[in-house]
Amino acid sequence: MTFHIDTSTGSNIGIAVLQGRLDVTNSAALLNAFPEWLQQTTSIIFDCSGLNFLDSSGLGAFVRCLRQTLDQNGDLRLAALASNVAMIFELTKAKQLFSIHPNLQDAIDSFSS
């Protein structure tokens, strides 16, 4: 789990790279780290290309992060979901809550348009 600011499009976009599994054992870590990221920018992307498993507590963490971002008038977008992670979003209707992009660049570009 790393976080950096991308300025390639002129605005500050926070990119969190998530790796491996996000489940009941480590979703709290994401929730703890998130407010700090939110202080740096309110345009945030979760790069999920390395995320290969997500359970409902992980999904719950995503939704809480999104809620916090929306409260700050920002947006949390998701990029490069693995097929099984994408299925969780479809299954739980969480798909409607997030803007989901096929790759990181797409997600970055979506903030400037």
């Binding site: 009941v24 409902s56 097929s83 994408a86 299925m87 479809e90 739980t92 209707k93």
Partner: protein, 468 residues
């Protein structure tokens, strides 16, 4: 006419991965096991004998189809080697094929026939050789003496074959049967209107919406706020929990779909959700997607214990008279056999010893005892004592390791009881079928509902005990 069905392991290897535990020949397409389609087609072609061959195990198929008397045909089974070609296979069955027109169905293929058509004329007049083949793999071959070689081939609908070689083709063919071809086959379930097939013991809650076409198996619970269909195939022993949607999807047997889920364009099998299009598989190891997250607090547990105790007391009083009249008679007759067994207890009580009584359902006294479920009567006092719940799980014996609840289930989802939810619902009482209904009620029951379920168990049990 005879029919040889030749299906090798390699033809259906994908089934073992996608739906582990299901024998591929028993995999259901629109709730009808695959092999039954082939048997039906063989019968339409006037086959009197059918032989099923494989290079793998056929035990489960044999246990299911037996000798074919159910269909009025003679069914036999035989084994071949993986390397055998069709010529060798015919040699190995030379006695079976001798002096007979033989149709060979080769490969894990779906035969697209129509039950209203006659296939014997085409099969009897066509020359030897391949008469139909599937795009990828599998064909229909004719061998042996033609019955009327001179007769002109009678007009007959073409027979299309399609190989079932992936979860994608399985999904496509199954939904195609439901949507467009349901009149071509004999499909299981009652339907007083077309495109709607519903099996036995299906409970559909009032606020659930069912949209045609759908096919629903046996022992299915569809709860409030759910939306099933259009284009949904729901197998047997399935629970679709509150506010979930199942559209353009197949839910296979013994599957529990949790609350608030949206199953669209998928196949769901036990804890595996697959997308036939992308071949992506989601293994729902996360318990919350399968079960509700709600955890009964101590207060409601106390409330339940009190309700159970009061209800037990009421039943004790109601059944006191029959018990006092019949029990001494049974004891004298020596019909009441008791056995003390150790069972897993709930919560902090590790082990509870219960004397379970069995009463043979014979004679006037035995029948009366069965009507009033008197063998459970002494257990009711244990409810008041707090050892058992009135309704919950069938107690798991300590000695029987297979049925022991695991640690997680033990804390939240196991409540040994006098009556089990499965008994109340008339479901199978042991095995995974029972587990699914009991787990459902563990999560969803409330004290009031429990009283109702107990009454249901009291009413249903005598029927269950009555020998057929």
């Amino acid at each position: 006419m005879k029919t040889l069905i030749v299906i090798k392991e390699q033809n259906h290897a994908w089934v073992r991965n996608a739906f582990p535990g299901i024998h591929p020949l028993l995999l259901t397409l629109c709730n009808k096991p695959y092999i039954e389609y082939l048997i039906d087609f063989a019968i339409l072609s006037r086959s009197e004998e059918i032989r099923i061959m494989s290079d793998g195990s056929l035990g489960e198929v044999e246990a299911y189809c037996m000798n074919g008397s159910r269909w009025g045909v003679e069914l036999t089974y035989s084994n071949i080697r993986t390397t055998d070609d069709i010529t060798t296979i015919l040699q190995k069955n030379s006695r079976f094929c001798r002096d007979n027109r033989t149709m060979v169905i080769n490969g894990f293929v779906f035969v697209d026939y129509d039950k209203e058509s006659q296939y014997d004329s085409i099969i009897n007049t066509m020359p030897d050789g391949v008469i139909a083949s599937a795009e990828n793999e599998g064909c229909l071959i004719l061998r042996g003496q033609e019955r009327n070689p001179d007769a002109a081939p009678a007009p007959s609908p073409p027979i299309n074959l399609e190989s079932i070689d992936s979860i994608e083709s399985y999904y496509r063919i199954s939904l195609d049967i439901l949507k467009n071809k349901s009149s071509q086959f004999v499909l299981p379930g009652y339907g007083n209107e077309p495109e709607c097939f519903i099996g036995r013991n299906v409970v559909i809650s009032k606020s659930a919406e069912i949209e045609k076409p759908v096919s629903i198996g046996n022992n299915v619970q569809i709860l409030s706020g759910t939306h099933i269909g259009p284009d949904a195939i729901v197998g047997s022993n399935v629970i679709i929990d509150k506010n979930s949607t199942v559209t353009e999807s197949i839910v296979l047997d013994n599957t529990y779909i949790g609350e608030e889920l949206d199953i669209t364009g998928k196949t769901a099998f036990q804890n595996m959700l697959s997308d036939p299009g992308t071949q992506a598989v989601l293994s729902m190891e996360d318990p919350h997607l399968l079960r509700s997250t709600q955890n009964n607090g101590t207060l409601s547990a106390l409330l339940r214990q009190i309700t159970h105790a009061i209800t037990a007391l009421t039943i004790i009083i109601l059944l006191m008279l029959p018990f006092l009249l019949i029990a001494p008679l049974l004891m004298v007759q020596g019909k009441w056999k008791k056995r003390l067994t150790d069972y897993h207890g709930a919560g902090d009580k590790k082990v509870i010893s219960i004397a379970t009584g069995t009463i043979p359902n014979q004679g006037v006294t035995g029948k009366l005892a069965s009507i009033f479920s008197l063998n459970r009567y002494p257990l009711l006092f244990r409810v008041i004592k707090g050892d058992l719940s009135l309704i919950g799980n069938l107690p798991a014996a300590v000695s029987d390791n297979s049925s022991a609840p695991d640690q997680d289930n033990m804390t939240h989802y196991y409540r040994p009881a006098v009556f089990s939810y499965a008994e109340a619902e008339n479901w199978p009482v042991i095995g995974s079928d029972a587990a699914i209904v009991e787990r459902y009620y563990m999560v969803h029951s409330n004290p009031l509902k429990d009283i109702g379920m107990t009454m249901k168990a009291l009413i249903n049990l005598p029927h269950k005990n009555t020998p057929k």
